[in-house]
């Protein structure tokens, strides 16, 4: 705490959609309570802060800095390192920062493929001269520099040390408020030895009201293909529900609404690779008794890496696809 005795907090967005910034506001009236005890030292999404301002802060100036989004380019890496230096506690906020999130799905494509889609081949693109961004451009007025695009999206923890992570896409407001409460009070928030806060120490299944009947999966069905029976485990009904392999904390919102868990809170406690955990889990749940049928059922699954690592590509074992 500096000067006025109030906490200094920050929030930064890197490779993210902005939903995390909004989710912080979802705490509602409590934001006023927060402002009673804390000054916002840095929040580019909410107000005009300059990097220079932050660079001018003494080291450890900010008491808590929330970092949302993964790291995809040199600017984000630079800011991550800067914020690490200027913050006492650096918290990876949201699944992109903690596990890569949706942006990390792009790790399945090479930079060339991404640029091709983004600047050339997508139908909505109007780029007759085929211009692509380059880090350094010589112009009449001097060299222009823009951030370098990295080969992969990484979670914050691979760039700098993050003290805690609040998973979720986006994190749930009540959990966030609880975590903030713990952080501002100076206490170590409740966590399971893995520094993940604002979530439970169990999987989504623990919070889910749907029951398993111990029937095996006869065939995989996508959510547009059937209307799930209420009260019955979606996975058993053939929906690829990632609940068993996903960290709880959301209150099993999606399964309650009849939608399979897509895994947005990242790996379940105890696991690090969400996809492997899910593959291990469904290994014994299929009705298939022959190799042929097992293969057929597996072939029915659309886009396995994108399904099993939808939100956690950056903390999976492989992280990045090999492209030639």
């Amino acid at each position: 705490m500096n000067g006025n005795g109030k906490l200094k907090i920050g929030m930064y967005w890197a490779s993210s959609c902005g939903g995390c910034d909004i989710s912080l506001l979802e705490i509602g009236d409590k934001i006023l309570d927060l402002i009673q005890i804390a000054d916002v030292a840095f929040w580019p999404c909410a107000a005009d802060f300059k990097y220079q301002t932050v660079a001018g802060y003494p080291d450890g100036y900010m008491d808590i800095c929330f970092f949302n989004g993964g790291v995809r380019n040199s600017e984000q890496e630079e800011v991550a390192r800067l914020l690490r230096k200027k913050s006492k506690l650096l918290v990876a906020y949201g699944t992109c920062a903690s596990d890569g999130g949706i942006p990390a799905l792009a790790n399945m494509n090479s930079v060339a493929e991404i640029f091709d889609a983004a600047y050339h081949s997508n139908p909505s693109i109007d780029n007759p001269n085929g211009i692509e961004p380059r880090p350094h451009v010589e112009t009449a007025v001097g060299t222009l520099e823009i951030p370098t695009f990295y080969p992969a999206v990484l979670n914050l923890g691979q760039i700098v040390h993050a003290d805690f992570a609040i998973p979720g896409c986006p994190p749930q407001a009540e959990d966030v408020w609880e975590a903030i409460g713990a952080l501002v009070s100076g206490a170590t928030p409740q966590h399971n030895g893995d520094r993940r806060i604002g979530c439970t120490s169990r999987s989504v299944c623990d919070e889910c009201v749907r029951e398993k009947k111990m029937t095996r999966i006869a065939a995989f069905r996508r959510h547009h293909m059937f209307r799930p029976e209420p009260g019955w485990c979606l996975l058993e009904q053939g929906a690829m529900c990632l609940g068993p392999a996903t960290r709880g904390g959301c209150g099993a919102l999606c399964p309650q609404a009849g939608m399979r868990c897509e895994g947005c809170y990242g790996p379940a406690p105890g696991a690090t690779d969400q996809g492997s955990a899910m593959i291990g889990a469904i290994g014994g749940m299929l009705e298939a008794t022959t190799e042929k049928r097992a293969q057929e059922m597996v072939d029915e699954i659309v886009d396995p890496p994108g399904t099993f690592y939808r939100f956690s590509m950056a903390t999976g074992n492989l992280k990045v696809a090999q492209k030639h």
Binding site: Y150, N192, S201, R202, S203, V204, C205, D206, K212, M214, R216, G243, P244, A245, G248, A268, P269, G270, A271, A277, M278, G280, A281, G283, G284, M285
Partner: protein
């Protein structure tokens, strides 16, 4: 119930303290050291963090070798031991014992296989040495993560359930009871004796089968230590080694011992049906006894053909007949279970070698009934009232099947195995035909003849002398059976004979006997209730054919006889005696110690998602609905680790195969420094 054995171990450092590892690289008298530079391996390992001593010896499995290990443990105060030697299947136990003798927990030991999987298979000495080094490093990495474990101790209830009342079940029951163990024997049919009672004469003694089975049944039936339930069907089962609970459903017999005039009662029955005991060659009444002298000596009612007309009730004057008898359930508690469920003979398909098309085509089992003087033909060799002049035997019907030639069984698999008993049975029957009906000509069509057993080959020699004609067909072009158009004989077998270099033969016959093979019964209920391992041939699968030949993988279950594969009577009784002796050793010990490699649930991490409940092949995991967490029943857990791989929260760990242990082994195998400069340049 299980409890943990407190073995006398001394302190073992787990994470935190630096483990003190001893590495012992065996030369195996040159078997290893001729290819692997064992001194170099020991030298390189001595640099590894935590390795306190690394040494070699000519034979670590020898007494001086083991003494060296023990001495080193004491001298260097070792708390982890790695022996690099032969396969762990040979000497893992030897070394564990040596480790235990030195006062160290025996599970703080790791075995690296550098003989079977290195020195015997790799020719390049430097590659072999490098590989041995990698494997030993991995073993060291793994041991560093090991924790001391204790064997599980289970108390054993002093009674045995024997499933099956054939020769194997009877033998096992007799042997167990002779050791003072309480036995409950259950038989699904109404009578004891199984397939042996159906046989005529048995090799290699030539005795009447009845003369073997009747005294055996009497011995069992009169033993006060044995309770017999016939007409008993398995209903439910629970429990585990030492304390199995089996509920059997006793189906109504309809007749009790109070019936004093069984033969009159049987004669009174107006309903006739196919006589299963005589394999369809005769008819019997709906209330019946299969043969004179059967056990129990009380008729049974075949409810499928009984019309409840009441004739028997009147004939018995109401004594001992209950046409409205209801099934009842009996619970049997047992410390061990001997499975002697037997097998079936292969049922030929319609049209297979003319079976079902021609009355003159019968199976070997049917011929056996025909040769029996008390059987359906009173021992005469006649078909349709006509005496048989020429008889042919067709081998390997339902056995040694070939892909593409034979149609698969219902499960899509063919019977590739040899049924073992049919060749000698065929020779034995051919000999009897030649002895009793000297004028009959006998032809033997085979792909191969395997009279493998002791004193079996003499039957083959003898029938050769007696003039049986042997014709060897090409298994890929099996013989065909047709009606004989010349009319003199009902059948003609067309084949080529490889013994005469492919000569085309047409052999007219009065009777063709199919030497049908032996197949597993439908044991799905049994398999399901007791979690039995089943082989690809559908017979129950022992743990190891040589080392543990009569045990199933699930603890406390023993295999007696042909439930495990085709066996003759001698082999069945030998297997049954072995199973009985294994079971009685368990019962007499009163308790058993099991390997500690069981799964454990970390309730703190368990989310109660039930995923592990699907995968456990032994239903050893249950979920506590109040705490919403899973729990492993250690007495049921066989330590496969399947649940570990399935748990999405990694809340289940298998002792001895924990993630951290397997992963540290993996990482050590993959050890390598990435070239640093290249990495820094990359971003």
């Amino acid at each position: 119930m299980s409890e943990t054995v407190q073995a006398g171990d001394h302190k073992a450092s787990v994470d935190g303290d630096q483990p003190r590892v001893g590495v012992f690289v065996c030369r195996c008298g040159g078997n290893i050291s001729d290819i692997v530079d064992v001194d170099a391996v020991a030298r390189r390992l001595s640099d590894v963090r935590g390795v306190v001593c690394a040494t070699t010896h000519q034979f670590f499995c020898s007494d001086p070798g083991q003494a060296l290990i023990e001495q080193s443990i004491k001298e260097h105060n070792l708390d982890r031991v790695v022996v690099a030697a032969c396969s762990p299947s040979l000497h893992e136990i030897t070394f564990r014992r040596a480790v235990a003798r030195a006062g160290l927990n025996q599970y703080l030991f790791e075995h690296a296989n550098i003989r079977e999987q290195v020195s015997w298979v790799i020719t390049d000495k430097s590659a072999a040495t490098d590989k041995a080094e990698r494997l030993v490093r991995a073993a060291v990495a793994r041991t560093r993560r090991l924790a001391p474990l204790q064997k599980r101790r289970i108390h054993i209830r002093p009674s045995v359930l024997v499933i099956g009342g054939g020769v194997a079940g009877l033998t096992a029951a007799r042997d167990l009871a002779a050791r003072g163990i309480h036995v409950t024997l259950i038989e699904s049919s109404p009578f004891l004796g199984g397939r042996l009672a159906q046989l005529h004469r048995i090799f290699p003694t030539g005795q009447r089968a009845r003369d073997v089975v009747t005294p055996l049944i009497e011995e069992v039936a009169s033993n006060p230590n044995i309770v017999i339930h016939t007409n008993a069907e398995l209903e439910r089962a629970s429990g585990f080694i030492g304390d199995f609970h089996t509920v059997v459903r006793i189906m109504p017999r309809g007749v009790s011992e109070a019936c004093t005039n069984p033969q009159e009662v049987i004669d009174s029955c107006p309903e006739e049906t196919v006589d299963g005991f005589n394999l369809g060659l005769a008819k019997r009444k709906a209330i019946y006894m299969p043969y004179a002298g059967c056990y129990p000596p009380v008729p049974a009612i075949d409810w499928r053909s009984c019309t409840k007309c009441g004739a028997c009730f009147e004939a018995a004057a109401g004594k001992g007949i209950d046409l409205d008898e209801k099934p009842r359930e009996v619970m049997i508690a047992a410390g061990a279970i001997v499975i002697a469920a037997g097998l079936n003979t292969y049922a030929p398909r319609h049209g297979e070698y003319g079976y079902g098309q021609f009355q003159e085509v019968v199976t070997l089992a049917q011929l056996n009934r025909m040769l029996d003087p008390t059987g359906p033909t009173a021992g005469k060799l006649t078909v349709n009232g006509r005496s048989v002049r020429r008889v042919g035997f067709m081998h390997c019907v339902g056995s040694l099947q070939h892909e593409g030639i034979h149609k698969p069984m219902r499960d899509g698999r063919i019977n590739q195995y040899c049924s073992r008993v049919c060749c000698t049975t065929t020779m034995h029957a051919a000999e009897e035909i030649k002895d009793r009906f000297p004028g009959v000509q006998v032809y033997d069509f085979h792909e191969d003849i395997r009279t493998y057993g002791r004193r079996h080959e003499s039957y083959y020699d003898h029938v050769c002398q007696q003039g049986v004609a042997f014709i060897r067909f090409d298994p890929l072009r099996p013989p065909t059976v047709e009606a004989d158009t010349k009319g003199e004989f009902p059948l003609v077998v067309k084949t080529t004979d490889r013994l005469t270099f492919g000569e085309e033969l047409e052999v007219p016959l009065d009777l063709l006997v199919l030497a049908t093979g032996l197949v597993a019964r439908d044991m799905s209920k049994l398999v399901d209730l007791y979690r039995c391992s089943v082989g690809a041939d559908r017979f129950l699968l022992e743990v190891h054919p040589k080392l543990r030949p009569v045990e199933l993988a699930a603890f406390g279950l023993f295999l007696a006889g042909s439930v495990q594969g085709p066996m003759d009577i001698a082999e069945s009784t030998a297997a049954a005696a072995a199973a009985a002796s294994k079971a009685s050793a368990l019962i007499k010990a009163g308790q058993i110690e099991l390997d500690p490699f069981v799964a454990r649930v970390d309730e703190h991490h368990c989310s109660g998602c039930k995923v592990c409940l699907y995968v456990c092949p032994f239903t050893a995991i249950e979920r506590n609905d109040s705490t919403k967490t899973a729990r492993v029943n250690e007495a049921l857990c066989t330590g496969c680790g399947t649940c570990v791989a399935s748990c999405p929260c990694n809340a289940i760990q298998q002792q001895g195969f924990e993630d951290s242990q397997v992963e540290s082994e993996l990482m050590a195998l993959l050890a390598g420094k990435p070239p640093a400069e290249e990495l820094l340049a990359a971003v």
